[in-house]
Symmetry: C2
Subunit: 281 residues, 2 copies
Amino acid sequence: MPMTEKYCATNNLEPLVNQQVSHRLAYFAEMQQQLCVRNYGSSNIYDNGFTSLHSNSQHELRTESSHKSIEDNVTESRSVNQKLWPVKACLEMKCLWDEFNELGTEMIVTKAGRRAFPTFQIKLWGLDPDAHYILMMDFVPVDEKRYRYAFHSSSWVVAGKGDPCAPPRIHIHQDSPEKGSHWMKQAISFDKLKLTNNQLDNNGHIILNSMHRYQPRFHVIYDSATGEESKLVNFKTFTFIETQFIAVTAYQNHRITQLKIASNPFAKGFRDCDIDDWYVL
Amino acid sequence: MPMTEKYCATNNLEPLVNQQVSHRLAYFAEMQQQLCVRNYGSSNIYDNGFTSLHSNSQHELRTESSHKSIEDNVTESRSVNQKLWPVKACLEMKCLWDEFNELGTEMIVTKAGRRAFPTFQIKLWGLDPDAHYILMMDFVPVDEKRYRYAFHSSSWVVAGKGDPCAPPRIHIHQDSPEKGSHWMKQAISFDKLKLTNNQLDNNGHIILNSMHRYQPRFHVIYDSATGEESKLVNFKTFTFIETQFIAVTAYQNHRITQLKIASNPFAKGFRDCDIDDWYVL
DNA sequence: CCGTTCCCACCTAGGTGTAAATGT
DNA sequence: ACATTTACACCTAGGTGGGAACGG
């Protein structure tokens, strides 16, 4: 699998992770390696080294009725560590995500980095309270297409072939590594995560192409594997279809803007009515 | 030493430490025990279970000319772990602390908890980069006296016997435990630490008596001791005499108020002149 | 023309001392 | 009297979308 190896070999970890946890790189180096193999090892590889979810039947996205996510690991050839078998994840604020998703979620990307809204938050169950886990997120292009917003029809249309991707980055939750009991105590919020369109970003933010569609993913990594255990698959990936979005430098769909203003406390200054708890966040 | 044992026995750890790190209690239980013995084992014990620094020659405070602190461990009977021998601490913003100290530093205590200013910040050297350490602070009453401010003479005078102390608390730095390399990377700031006069405080803040004098202390704890090593003294305490202060509910010395306003960025609104970088913080 | 960048008014969240009110 | 509490104006620090300016 030469492409995969080449991809991993050129995948310099240092600038890929967010700054808050850079001093813990040793913990994550091997996990990064595993994720590379896992993400791209059995998928169609494009010139830019990236994967298309849609072109890979293993990853084909399907609508889920509940808060449940797609668990990617079921197709793994290696056995999954027992510490991860019972792990379940649930998306917080699912109703709000659904509302955005029905309109076509847009996320602002800026040179300096912009937080995503709604914030990515998950609740975990089934971790070993005393074992150590690392939590991380990454963002997979949904396709290799560039989009534009057709104002006359109020819809997104394909505008051509996708632009080349910067080397993909991962965001490691700042509490990592922590015990299972810590992660299960309350919802885990990725509110430090920022999105940027600056291909040369030096702040460890997630680099995305504007006008491209992305699927966020959550990874739970078992951090205490030793001996024979370390040969098992020591992570589990959760994909919530309703968190898909298109990266933009300015909002295109006015209804998205209005929903952001209505639901994001920091945008309260732009609300028309005084009912500021339309969404209780 | 019945008082010491009684003191430690009634010293329920749970509510003593700040909330941010409460889930890491297991790490600190033994250290707390050691600190109790160490702090109070060879000192005069008062009815309230507290120690007078002044009445104990081993702890007698003396002025230091440089940034150096008093290292308490030299009087220990047990051997100190090698991982701590070369550890040195240096007080950040020493000039500002000196300026406050010459006037007689006052720190506001409130029911809800108030940050100290200047912020307690130290720089560490000599840690093993790969070993894990815990950093904590506590506050020792300088004497068992109550003070009042004599406005006519602009000085603090003894107003009687000290009030009973609440069970002493420790503040564990939120990054604990972390590797030596982490702690030495930059100055360690205890900016999450808050002081309160609420004897029933439930937020893990440091409980102090208003109008009483306190000496802050820094403790570096070696967290990786196993086997024979664990019988050694696995912590080192640093005391910076210039950080001594009197707890107050309202500032008494007007010159302290003015110095706070001049040097604390959050008090900029009370400055007379527009030169807001009189102190570059 | 369309997408991006930049500055800005307006928020959230929380750290200041003040001065009046409230104990004790 | 003196100490403490409370509400508050005024900051820091940083997250919003708007709209003008910029650029291919």
